[in-house]
Amino acid sequence: MVGEETSDEERAELRETLGLMDPIHVQFSRFIVNASKGEFGISYQLRRPVSELIAERLPATIELVVISALIALVTGTLLGVYTGINRKGFLSDFVLAISLLGVSLPTFVIGILFIYLFAVILGILPSFGRGEVVDLGFWTTGFLTVSGLKAIILPSVTLSLFQMTYIIRLVRAEMMEILQTDYIKFARARGISENSIKYKHALKNGLIPVITIAGINIGTLIAFSIITETVFQWPGMGFLFIQAVQFVDIPIMSAYLVFIAFVFVMINFVVDILYYLIDPRIRVKGDAASG
């Protein structure tokens, strides 16, 4: 933080103003107090308040994660239901084989392959960056420009692949299990149409565990986004974090980690509430005994 020609007095003064002379527990409690107010100090490298930097980078990461989560959930559920119902078809085997690739290939390999295929060979999608963004004052979005939309395709698909395969396998297993249950058999015996049995009776039950897993996985998506953002030079928090690691920029790193922890807790909280809304067995626990 200081240049070559800084004098010893100035160094000492800076130490004093930064509070580096205080005992460790005082420094740590000051960090806690400030962190609880959202102040993580000043980045060593960029000399700007960390909270400002994070706020600047947040929209990029959030947009990336939301889009990947949507892709993973929607495609994962659809393919999971399909493979769960049509267990022996060619398409099911194909999807399952591909999903193995998704689980086993690391994100950065997939990202680089995508860049090579779509940006280098075909040249239809940009290989890095966010494209043009529109500043809404509190939020910068890439959704409003063509280049922004094009730019988000590759990183979000890359990021979603792992979760998608996970959800496919989970939904498939759930569907297969639920289609064997007594209440599905009883619904068949009442002559309920096959479509209603599959998409209303079975799928609704099958989605309950998916919501738990999906909640936890959105947290993982944010964590995984470090790699994807690095591969695609996506100007999000993960990219900021990697740069901070290289420069030992501790305020940024600590702020990022605290933020991620906070997101994890919030997501799980939301998932618990969703559970409560979706599963009636949890909702009315109180009067179950009276029945």
Binding site: F186, R190, G191, S193, K200, P280
Partner: protein, 560 residues
Amino acid sequence: MTFLKINNLSVDYQMRKETVYAAKNVNIEVNKGEILGLVGESGSGKSTVGNAIINLIDEPGKVSSGSVILGDLNIHENSESIVKYRGNKIGLIFQDPQTSLNPILTVGEQLIETIQTHLKLSKEEAKNKSINLLKEVGIKDAEVRFDNYPHQFSGGMRQRVVISLALCCEPELLIADEPTTALDVSIQSQILELIKKLTKQRNLAVILITHDMGVIAETADRVAVMKSGNLVEIGETKKILTKPQENYTKSLVSSVPPTNKKISRFVIVEKENSDKKENNIKILNRWTKKEIIDQDLVQIKNLSKSFDDNFFTESSKNSVMAVNDVSFEIKEGESFGLVGESGSGKSTIAKMIVNLFKPTSGDIFFDKVCITKIKQRSELMKFRKQIQMIFQDPYSSLNGRLKVKDIIAEPITLHNPSISSLDLNNYINDLLESVELTQKSADRYPHEFSGGQRQRISIARALATQPRLLVCDEPTSALDVSIQAQILNLLKDLQEQLNLTILFISHDLPVVRQMCDRIGVLKDGKLCEVSNTEDLFLKPGHEYTRELLRLMPKIESIYN
């Protein structure tokens, strides 16, 4: 007139190596307004026939031949046509009301969907019809209950909902597959009454699939007996139960514990080894046989157990009293029966006696020592050795990864670590022979045995430590009636020869009558009465006991 006609119905399961016939050339006729009982032991194909009527056989099984005529319609013409009769002409009720309703749809949603599938009614009309139906099957406050989820209903109420779902499109044939097996006796009688009432009111043809001869005797007009996929005998209930023609039917009927008298042994027609008595003597050589003295082996004083609903709130409001101030004694050498419906706390008492649960208050004395106060592990082991337990489910109470000999050896080596391996093997063989298993069984795994054989292994394991008290928690309720008779005979023989004291827990009154000298009746964790078996059955003291006796299905009712 004949309404349902099943001609030469066969169901096969195409396996990789062979074809298994689950049902073979079955011919059954059912009239309107009549209940046909379909009985048989597990694996006899009775459920298969029920499911085959509406072509609801699980893969890889399929209906391979035969026809089903309903009225003047051949409903098996092709596999698509049957779909439109499901729910519409034919209603089906399954065994377990806990699992046959979709947990995340309200009862009303499930009813309306079913009604609208078959009848051209508006949502409002369907709702009215559903509410009337719920009222008809005996659900109070039907307007409110309509919007409830299945888990808000108790077991019996849920089965009523299931019945209303099966009947909502006015089918003419009702197939009830073990509709009361999962229910308590008082609820069972209500459900059976309901089925009988609906049969008459709606002029239904009903097929009642069950393994319970008492239920058949009280409900069915005619009976069909099945064995390994074949129809053995069919005829009027009274005739089949009193003068069975076929050997299998005879053995089935004689295996049923009579409710009106005490017999010394169950008659087993099919295979009765005459020389098995001698086998039992072998473990007697090792047995330090206690002479029976007239004393109480177990004394239970003011025993209570509560389960806290919530870990954080210790208020007594949330806690459930599973056992509430229960006191009784078990005399040395006697069989003491504990009966009660589910949730009455009978298993909880058993688990406290074998020290798997700690009582909330009260004491248990075993041989005049208070075992609930023992802190030292070595002291406790002495008592564990003398008290052994046999569990209800022979499938989950044996470790599937261990060979039979290791299962039996475990308690022996635990209490006698110095036993030589030769002696251990001999002992295991003797134990196996005492429970009428061959020595070859020792090297096999539990999954190679049937339910009855597994329960024998459990008994051998329990006997391995030479206990004085054997706690049997519903030892035969997972078993077929003929197997049950064999196991109960075995327990009786063992008790006689080894001077065992038995605590026998069951919900099945006829079985308890055959097995026990004295009986305690439990209700909601409280002991209603304790008395000698015959006194209890002939002049019950407590209101609840009278109620239980009145409701129990009696095979003898056919003579009236």
